[in-house]
């Protein structure tokens, strides 16, 4: 690629690790990330989930090279073409099987959301099955959203960019985080079959009003009455505000994963028990706000508390205003940046704009050569102290589709 002549972009620290890798892949620039947890006495360098993400990138791309230093504190990543799940590279039968390691503390959404950002620019459809002893489908204490929220709050956003065909996220097996928040036993199938050259330019400046709330309550390996209790509490809070509130309940048995021991090499154990709630509020203009709370791995929290916290979290997210929930900011702004050379505008809440992750994203994007964002106060009827971000697309789009 063109990146051969350019020097690598230099970043430090493990923050925003995945999005740096994603934007590197999308723009084709080599990156050099150093000082990844250098001062941690026990676990310096890359964490298991970060290594796993590098592996995933390796599987969906062709020709990418990565070098990890001896201690794991430095990574050099030279991106290749995003080929997707074409047979022959990493896929068998058109499906990439990605195994997550036992020690994974992050939910699958940690991998899914960046993958969603890559997928529209792939050469062929992306089909990935996440399996293995580290797949956590629920929300996690590390701050990842549940897979249900990804499906109901992140994937519909692609519709606004003209990406809507053949997108599926199938939860084959649910799992909450295992003991100490490590590992799970879930299985998730992700299909992203809509590839395009350039996403549409987005102008989203009317947040609208919340018209409905949907949600999924899940309990894995525990009684389904937990679901009913979470739902009742959450509805008790939300129903007076939005009458069209409905939360679906999903009860599944705990995954049964092999746990070999010295005395019992064929031993198995149940893992990932717990419950949780995912709520999504949809506004009249199609803006989505989500909230996710799951029972902590240590337990000891009543379903009523989970339901209440989740409902309040949803209200908080909505109260931040704007058209984008904080969790969806990287996806929306990333897609806008990758769009055609045109000015797209999006209204976000002041608090969302001021969040650390958003600022970090802006800095990283600027480093990758994206023109800076234009910020101005929103005016007119839906002001509420919101900020309008104007993003100029880079017009790179899908390199794999450029030839065709």
């Amino acid at each position: 690629m063109a990146s051969t002549s350019q020097p690598p972009l230099r970043f430090t620290s493990h923050k925003n690790f995945v999005y740096r890798l994603v934007f590197s892949t999308l723009t084709g620039r080599t990156i050099h990330i150093s000082q990844i947890r250098p001062s941690s006495p026990t676990n310096p360098g890359l964490a298991p989930h970060e290594i796993s993400f590098l592996r995933l990138l390796d599987a969906v791309t062709n020709g990418s090279q990565m070098e990890i230093s001896y201690t794991g504190t430095i990574v050099v990543y030279k991106p290749g073409l995003i080929t997707g799940s074409a047979t022959g590279t990493g896929a068998s039968g058109g499906v990439i099987r990605h195994e997550l390691p036992v020690g994974c503390t992050r939910g699958v959404s940690y991998f899914l959301i960046p993958l969603c950002l890559l997928a529209p620019f792939s050469k062929s459809p992306i089909k990935v099955t996440f399996s293995g002893p580290g797949v956590i489908t629920s929300a996690t204490p590390t701050g990842d959203m549940s897979v249900d929220s990804v499906r109901t709050a992140i994937l519909p956003l692609f519709n606004q960019f003209g990406i809507f065909n053949n997108i599926e996220l199938r939860i084959l097996k649910r799992s909450n985080p295992g003991p100490n928040g490590r590992g799970g036993g879930g299985e998730v199938q992700f299909v992203f079959g809509h590839q395009l050259r350039l996403p549409k330019t987005l102008h989203l400046m009317n947040p609208g009003r919340i018209k409905r709330v949907r949600g999924v309550a899940y309990s894995v390996g525990v009684s389904g009455s937990n679901n009913a209790r979470m739902i009742e509490t959450a509805r008790g809070i939300l129903n007076p505000l939005v009458p069209d509130t409905y939360v679906f309940s999903d009860v599944s048995s705990a995954p049964f994963v092999p746990a070999p021991e010295k005395t019992n090499p064929s031993g198995k154990k149940k893992i990932g028990l717990g419950f949780g709630l995912s709520l999504v509020a949809e506004s009249s203009t199609g803006c989505l706000f989500s909230a996710d709370v799951a029972s902590p791995p240590s337990g000891g929290e009543a379903p009523e508390d989970i339901g209440k916290r989740c409902a309040y979290q949803l209200l908080e997210t909505v109260s931040k205003g704007g058209c984008v929930a904080p969790a969806a900011v990287p996806v929306m702004l990333g897609l806008m940046t990758m769009g055609s050379e045109d000015v797209g505008r999006i209204q976000v809440g002041r608090e969302v704009m001021a969040a650390e992750s958003t600022i970090q994203l802006a800095r990283d994007l600027a480093k990758f050569g994206a023109p800076g964002w234009g910020l101005r106060d929103a005016s007119g009827e839906n002001e509420n102290g919101d900020v309008i971000i104007s993003v100029v697309g880079r017009g790179i789009g899908n390199v794999g589709r450029k030839v065709a």
């Binding site: 994937l155 809507f164 599926e168």
Partner: protein, 298 residues
Amino acid sequence: MIGKRKRDTAIVPRATTFDDEETPQTNTESSHDIFRKFFEAQFQPLDVPGAQITRRDDAEGESDEEASELSDTGSNWDGLSEGEDGPEVVQIVEHCDAKSLDLMDKKARKAFMTAKPPSSLVDRTPAKSPKRETESDKDENEIDADHLKNDLALQRLLKESHLLESASDLAPTGKNRLKALDLRMQELGSKESLYKQRMPSSHRRGIQAKAEMKENKRRKEARENGIILEKPTPKANANSSKRRERGVGGPSIGKFAGGTLNLSKHDVAAIQGSGRSSRGRGGSRGRGRGRGRGRGRR
């Protein structure tokens, strides 16, 4: 008394997990309240005599005394509604039938809990579609319906044209109409023709014989008058040509009766014939002939 204590302690630990700092008196009170609520949810609201309540209210300070009082009443459980403040407090116990709700929202669930990301547009369309129909839609529908009708008529004509005597008459009447209906029924999956009746075999044979006689007579007369008729249709000898439907698991050869497999000479010949051909020497007649022909050609 001791027995009562035990029961009390059985209740208390649950409350202590929630609030350790509270005095034991309120603990027992709240636990009583919980117990009463649970009981009411299970059965029916307890009707507590007012006098008793007031007395409880008065004596709220001394929990020990109350405990003893409770024990005095023995197994009479109405003492548990002690936590009630006054008659104006109304307990609302909601009974929500989760099952019926689930049934109602099965459709919504199916739409939401799929692998696809839920889209609001998809949700809206089913609500809208039955509501309104514009003029153009109506016209299109009419045209579609017309096409469909014509198609059906053509299909029927093609299938039933052999019943029609004159080309002018497209809608069959009388006997022909009934026959056509019968054909359609069969096509739609009726098991038997309407005209296949159950009757004694002597009747059926009589009918068949009569039909044969009629046909023969017609042919004879035609021959005598020098009229050339169509060739007689080959007689469908159903018994010999068609393989009878056998049950599953029966023998593929021979007859199984009385616990023995009986092979006829024919069956034995069939088995041996195949065996001999594999042996290949000397051969059956067929084989010999085949060879001879081969030689001749060379």
